[in-house]
């Protein structure tokens, strides 16, 4: 094959990203244009919402659980294990974080660590334990990954409200009366609009660190290469002497770790776990899957997609408050989903790691 072939391939890859970025940008420009032209129309309101610092900080906050779950999903799936149970990991960590804080006592500190942070780490730990269970089931016992993932979700979905009911008598936990709070960086937080980046939940900062860090780990470290190889062609990895199971376990545990941060941040940002219906996680884990597929398994892309969903949600909340605005709220709430559908219909499939979802066997049953 000639070099032009390669160029063309790069082109398709580029065009995917270009379509996404270009699409988003042109929609924004269109709104800006209409908004500037008719400042008193709905477009003017829309532009004001999109350019407000309040919307930005809201979008950052809302994207935290989605982004962390998506990052987790990337590590797991890149390593060859499709983790559809992210939703369950978010639920279990959100619940454990709150209940641990409550048991320790929200005002207590243990060896200098405020209870809420103990809860935060306990949430992560619970998610890691759940993902370890998932990993053993999938890797050791060769379970169908999709089904096992669904099971993880269902178990968490039952267990968290169950435990809350046992402990509190209702599916919701009591309010802790305290949250992770905000960290404000002096001076920087005074910048208009972008100051939102410097006056945010601790979890937002973690997210802003985790995204590039994940990218780095995947693309620049040996471990990242092994993860990618394990998801593309595990045999290739095995034959050069790297233990595929170890890499896969690591990938899945990492997904538990990251999703755990997202779950803990979600519930502790509120100081409460809500266990009604789909719980307070309410589909964020599934949206995370969409986000990383959308971002083509690139942590930065996944963050972009999560931020897009969160941004649409933040805008939606504000759009509702524009007086005299007739479109029903429920319809506005469909905007993020419809957007995803339209973009999917236009750009089609993302490339799934070749061996994702398959078991890997060294081929010898004597060992």
């Amino acid at each position: 094959m000639s070099t032009t072939t390669i160029d063309r391939l790069r082109d398709t890859e580029l065009s995917y990203r270009a379509t996404l970025a270009g699409g988003a940008l042109s929609v924004f420009l269109l709104i800006a244009l209409l908004g500037l032209a008719f400042p008193s129309s709905i477009w003017g309101n829309f532009l004001a919402i999109l350019t407000s610092r309040s919307t930005l900080s809201s979008a950052l906050r809302l994207s935290v659980p989605i982004t962390f779950a998506a990052l987790g999903g990337i590590f797991s799936e890149k390593a060859g294990v499709v983790n559809i149970g992210l939703e369950g990991l978010l639920i279990i960590s959100a619940f454990t974080a709150v209940i641990t804080t409550a048991v320790v006592g929200p005002e207590m500190t243990v060896v200098g660590l405020p209870a809420i942070w103990i809860g935060f780490f306990a949430g992560i730990l619970s998610s890691v334990l759940f993902s370890a269970l998932f990993a053993v089931v999938c890797i050791r016992f060769k379970a169908d990954q999709i089904i096992a993932g669904l099971a993880v979700w269902l178990i968490a979905l039952g267990l968290a409200p169950f435990a809350a009911t046992v402990y509190y008598g209702g599916v919701n936990t009591d309010n802790l009366g305290t949250t992770l709070g905000t960290w404000t960086i002096p001076v920087l937080s005074d910048i208009p609009f972008f100051g939102a980046f410097f006056d945010a939940d601790p979890a937002v900062y973690m997210m802003l660190v985790a995204v590039p860090a994940s990218w780095y780990v995947l693309n620049r470290t040996a471990f990242g290469r092994h993860v990618r190889a394990s998801g593309e062609n595990p045999k290739a990895l095995d034959t050069v002497g790297v233990d595929v199971s170890r890499v896969r376990y690591a990938g899945v545990l990492l997904s538990g770790f990251l999703a755990g941060i997202g779950g803990s941040a979600l519930s502790l940002g509120l100081g409460q776990f809500v266990g009604n219906n789909q719980t307070m996680v309410n589909g964020k884990g599934f949206i995370a899957i969409v986000a990383y597929l959308f971002g083509n398994y690139n942590p930065i892309g996944a963050f972009g997609a999560s931020f897009l969903f969160a941004g649409l949600e933040a805008a939606q909340i504000r759009l509702q408050q524009v007086p005299g605005y007739a479109i029903p709220d429920s319809l506005i709430q469909t905007i993020p989903y419809v957007t995803v559908l339209v973009i999917l219909a236009l750009v089609g499939r993302t490339r799934i790691p070749e061996a994702a979802g398959e078991h890997y066997d060294t081929g010898d049953d004597n060992r």
């Binding site: 559809i84 089931v137 016992f141 060769k142 379970a143 169908d144 999709i146 089904i147 096992a148 669904l150 099971a151 993880v152 979700w153 269902l154 178990i155 968490a156 979905l157 039952g158 267990l159 409200p161 169950f162 435990a163 009911t165 046992v166 402990y167 599916v171 589909g283 599934f286 899957i289 969409v290 597929l293 029903p328 429920s330 319809l331 709430q333 469909t334 989903y337 419809v338 995803v340 559908l341 999917l344 219909a345 236009l346 089609g348 499939r349 993302t350 078991h359």
Partner: protein, 419 residues
């Protein structure tokens, strides 16, 4: 090959036969889930507080007694045929046509529809998570259609005979069309159906909500719901108590559909096409199957079954459409998985989950154990069903493995892959 060898080969193939194995594994999964569930019950019985211990093990008192919980669950689902704390054991007042049992059968009936819906798409290799959305919109279509057409028809039995089948067809059609959307997106835009169906579930819920709250709501109600359909146009309980919301007609219809779906999948050319594209799309195309069309058709079919589930929910249970549709579509996924995507398997699987669900209320009442326990059990069952390897390993330690004969090196293997 000698006769003895032949017989051995047949035996070996039988033991490896996937159907038998599936059933065994499903049972084993159920037992494991029940055992793990018992542990969870015991542990939570230490966390909660109570006056008297429900059971005492190893000198420790527990607030909840797992054995009692399971007995109450089962007993409740059947409408209490047994008197658990009475030496008489049997409840003389028990009537098989009771409320608790009706509840079980109601859930079972609904799950048969959604289980079939999911099974059809899974067999076609399509991971349709969207039965829920198809059910929501199919149900809404049925409710609106019945409401608007009912005044045009004579009320009573005749009207019901005309209206109910039509309403079910409308539900199926709308569900089918809504299911065809992700099918078409998959076939013609190569969009991953897992994502699109998840998105479409959200969208369906919101659209239905808006339609009802803004345009077709019941003006007399605070709740987002349609105006009730006249009783003669709904599926009324025949023998079972009023309010149990179970109609034997709907169950019969569901069972007929099971046979129909089985026939379609296993006995017809279309079913062959569908299964082939599910197993191996490339091979299907090679065999002259129009993969794109089959994708759309299968999704339509799956959606239609989901839509019928919605129609039955409206006609049998609610008598109207109401926001906050229960997660029957998601439960259908678990039913289909437990059934191994086999139409006949859907019936016992639906019955099991129906029993769990209806028994859960009895558990909450009778023992104080939160009914969410059943959600945990459901997840555990699916988890164990997902790992047949676990049971094979258990089995091989107690030596259930068939002893294999040694064949010549080019003799191939028997009995399918052992994955």
């Amino acid at each position: 090959m000698s006769a003895a060898e032949n017989a051995k080969a047949v035996l070996r193939r039988l033991t490896a036969a996937s159907a038998t194995e599936r059933i065994l594994i499903s049972f084993a999964a159920l037992i494991m889930a029940v055992l793990v569930g018992a542990v969870i019950i015991l542990v939570s019985g230490r966390i909660t507080t109570c006056q008297t211990a429900a059971t005492t093990l190893f000198g420790t008192g527990f607030c909840y007694d797992p054995v009692e919980v399971y007995l109450v669950l089962f007993n409740g689902a059947l409408g209490e045929p047994f008197l658990l704390n009475d030496p008489a054991l049997f409840n003389p007042d028990w009537n098989p046509l009771n409320f608790g049992f009706a509840l079980t059968l109601k859930e079972t009936t609904l799950l048969i529809f959604t289980g079939l819906s999911v099974a059809v798409s899974f067999r076609a290799g399509l991971f349709n998570i969207g039965t829920q959305g198809q059910l929501v919109l199919g149900g809404l279509a049925t409710a609106l259609f019945s409401f608007f057409v009912a005044p045009l028809l004579p009320s009573g039995l005749v009207g019901g005979l005309i209206l109910i089948p039509l309403a079910v067809v409308i539900g199926a059609l709308v569900g089918g069309l809504y299911g065809a959307i992700p099918g078409a997106l998959k076939a013609y835009a190569d969009a991953n159906e897992v994502i699109t169906t998840i998105m479409l579930n959200f969208i369906a819920a919101q659209i239905a909500f808006v339609l009802v709250s803004e345009f077709f709501g019941n003006p007399d109600s605070q709740v987002v719901e349609t105006t009730p359909i006249p009783d003669w146009a709904t599926l009324l309980p025949v023998a079972f108590p009023q309010g149990g919301d179970f109609s034997i007609l709907a169950l019969a219809f569901g069972l007929a559909l099971v046979v129909a779906v089985w026939f379609l999948l296993e006995q017809t050319s279309f079913g062959y096409d569908l299964r082939t594209s599910g197993e191996q799309p490339e091979a299907a195309e090679y065999g002259g199957v129009d993969a794109k069309r089959t994708t759309v058709t299968s999704m339509f079919l799956s959606g239609a079954l989901g839509g019928m589930g919605g129609a039955i929910w409206v006609l049998m249970v609610m008598g109207k459409w109401q926001a906050g549709v229960p997660a029957l579509g998601f439960d259908g996924i678990t039913v289909s998985i437990l059934a191994g995507n086999n139409p006949f398997g859907v019936v016992p699987a639906a019955l099991l989950f129906g029993t769990l669900k209806s028994g859960s209320l009895a558990v909450q009442f009778g023992t104080g154990v939160p009914k969410q326990l059943v959600g945990v059990l459901r997840g555990l069952i699916i988890l164990f069903v997902a790992m047949p390897e676990f049971f094979r390993m258990l089995g091989s330690t107690i030596d259930l493995e068939p002893d294999r004969e040694t064949v010549a090196t080019d003799g191939g293997r028997l009995g399918g892959d052992d994955e």
